[in-house]
């Protein structure tokens, strides 16, 4: 045995302490954040109680205040749901494609995806407003509205391009790179032996995915999607530029072609200007708190999903 092996075994404990402290840091920050949000929003809970969640009035004028968060809660749910429904298949498609393409195309696609994941949301917003909106109105909204607008409530309203559907689509475009970038890494790290096994059984590419890649990586893919959902739920700038920003009862989502509002967009629209110590400010922070609870719910659901799906927890096959 070599004499100069490091005999210093304390470092293992040091390491344990470092990683534990780092992890607890997260816990502390989040608790602090929740406490802070709760105390800052206390006046609105005190004044309105739970009716804050089910009411839809919104008036910020001094002396006429009335605050209800329902439309924004619904707005967030609907936009994120539509965005996820569009983005997940696209993202996983891209991730699948990237892992099966020839080397050169693969490098190029990776580059593009990474590039796109890094474009600030504000640029997506500008693009959505200036480039996407006019095209979308002309080629999608107006034809659909003319055909179905009168009969189907989903497509009623004025096709303005500043509405729930436009915001959701741009939102999905934004989160596609995030989800596909992470999914790609997950899919790439599925052990090749797994794929060989499926390959040998005469599986088609799709079946290889179904049989060998998906079961192995599904927990990771759910994780990637949650990452995307996180971005969707919390996205502020681009949504604010595109969703039409209705408030109060007008923001209750009734049609895809109607202006809406999400929780983060109303905060973005009004937080900066809400006077200190006002009920308005505490209502906005209250919405922030709801958003937080929202995130918690999403995670509980995802957690249940993952636990159901997850059997391999670590690594591949044990010896």
């Amino acid at each position: 045995m070599y004499k100069n092996f490091r005999a210093n075994l304390i470092s293992d404990n040091t390491f344990k302490i470092i990683i534990t402290v780092s992890a607890i840091y997260i816990l502390i920050i989040v608790s602090l954040l929740i406490t802070k949000l709760f105390f800052e929003s206390y006046p609105i809970w005190h004044a309105n109680g739970l009716s804050f969640i089910v009411n839809s009035d919104w008036n910020t004028i001094e002396g006429r205040e009335s605050f209800g968060a329902l439309p924004y809660i619904l707005g967030t749910m609907i936009t994120s749901a539509i965005a996820m429904a569009i983005a997940i298949p696209f993202s996983i498609g891209i991730a699948m494609f990237v892992s099966y393409t020839p080397q050169k195309l693969h490098v190029f696609l990776n580059f593009i995806i990474d590039l796109l994941a890094s474009i600030p949301s504000i640029i997506y917003g500008l693009w959505g407003l200036i480039i996407f909106r006019p095209i979308f109105i002309k080629s999608v909204e107006i034809p659909i509205h003319d055909m179905l607008g009168k009969h189907v409530w989903l497509f009623s309203g004025i096709p303005m391009g500043l509405d729930i559907i436009t915001a959701s689509i741009v939102l999905s475009i934004m989160i596609i790179p995030t989800i596909s970038s992470v999914s790609r890494e997950i899919i790439k790290s599925v052990p090749i032996q797994q794929q060989e096994a499926a390959f040998m059984l005469g599986a088609t590419e799709w079946e290889i995915f179904k049989l060998a890649i998906f079961p192995y990586s599904k927990a990771g893919l759910v994780g990637a999607s949650i990452l995307g959902l996180g971005r969707a739920v919390g996205e502020t700038m681009a949504i604010t530029m595109l969703i039409g920003n209705a408030t109060g009862n007008f923001a209750l989502p009734k049609s895809l072609f109607q202006a809406g509002q999400t929780m983060s967009s109303i905060i973005a629209n009004e937080f900066i200007e809400a006077p200190p110590l006002s009920l308005h400010l505490s209502a906005l922070i209250g919405i922030g708190l709801i958003l937080l609870l929202f995130a918690i719910c999403i995670n509980i659901i995802a957690h249940i999903l993952v636990i159901r799906m997850l059997k391999v927890q670590e690594g591949s096959i044990n010896t």
């Binding site: 090749i192 060989e196 059984l201 005469g202 049989l211 079961p215 096959i317 044990n318």
Partner: protein, 253 residues
């Protein structure tokens, strides 16, 4: 020509543009067992993987040559390798069961793909295949157990069962018994002898006794080249090439 189930012609394999297998040609007769022997790294695995276009998976590998199964060339662009792979079962050097699936699901994975849903057929297939692979007795009351909880040898036998379940016409095995104890090995050998009646078998082995026991033909490879391919008896008793003689003696001596 018709008596050959599988013909590999002029196979050359490049890894990152470096030749690893050089112009290998082998012909495998229907319902025979052929052993591939040779020192570690000589290209046995690489060659086997050509036989069902397994290299398609890896973009850094290039294969040239022909592989003709039942008269049609697997390497033509117009051919769908999936149709052929069904006929070719494969067992790898390292056991690779699907880790998320139970033992049962692992065995019938291939059948499920082909759209077979009838539970009775599936149950049957599981039982038959596991019995053929001599795993049945150890797992029959625990078929729902995750496959990764099996021991190494058990996993390997599970992989054999999985390959057998799709009823291939050719089966290629890369050192299937290297992780098995002698009893199982012997039984696997019996299985092979048994399967020979209906199947064409190609097997890589380091155990020359095994090669002698089970195979009709033996191929000796060295540094990516096929040195000698002959009837097993002939190759082991009076090889044509010095290299073969040396290698084979190296074992016996």
């Amino acid at each position: 020509m018709e008596s050959y189930k599988l013909i590999a012609e002029n196979i050359t394999v490049y890894y990152n543009n470096v030749k690893s297998i050089k112009n290998v040609t082998m012909k495998f007769k229907t319902n025979t067992v052929t052993s591939l022997i040779g020192p570690s790294g000589c290209g046995k695995t690489s060659f086997l993987r050509c036989l069902n276009r397994m290299h398609d998976m890896n973009k850094k590998v290039r294969v040239t040559g022909k592989v003709i199964i039942d008269g049609s060339n697997l390497y033509l662009d117009t051919v769908n390798p999936i149709l052929h792979r069904r006929k070719v079962g494969m067992v790898f050097q390292k056991p690779n069961p699907f880790p998320t699936m139970s033992i049962y699901d692992n065995v019938i994975a291939g059948l499920r793909l082909n759209g077979i849903k009838d539970k009775k057929i599936l149950d049957d297939a599981v039982q038959t295949s596991l019995k053929l692979a001599y795993l049945w007795d150890e797992v029959n009351d625990n078929l729902k157990q995750p496959a990764i909880e099996l021991s190494g040898g058990q996993q390997q036998r599970l992989c054999i069962a999985r390959a057998l379940a799709i009823k291939p016409e050719i089966i290629i095995m890369d050192e299937p018994s290297s992780a098995l104890d002698p009893v199982s090995t012997q039984k696997i050998e019996e299985t092979i002898m048994n399967l020979k009646k209906t199947l064409t078998i190609i097997i890589v082995t380091h155990n020359m006794q095994q090669a002698i026991r089970i195979s009709d033909y033996t191929a000796f490879m060295y540094l990516g080249k096929l040195i000698e391919f002959d009837e097993t008896k002939k190759l082991f008793t009076s090889p044509n090439h010095q290299l073969t003689a040396k290698y084979v003696k190296g074992f016996f001596g």
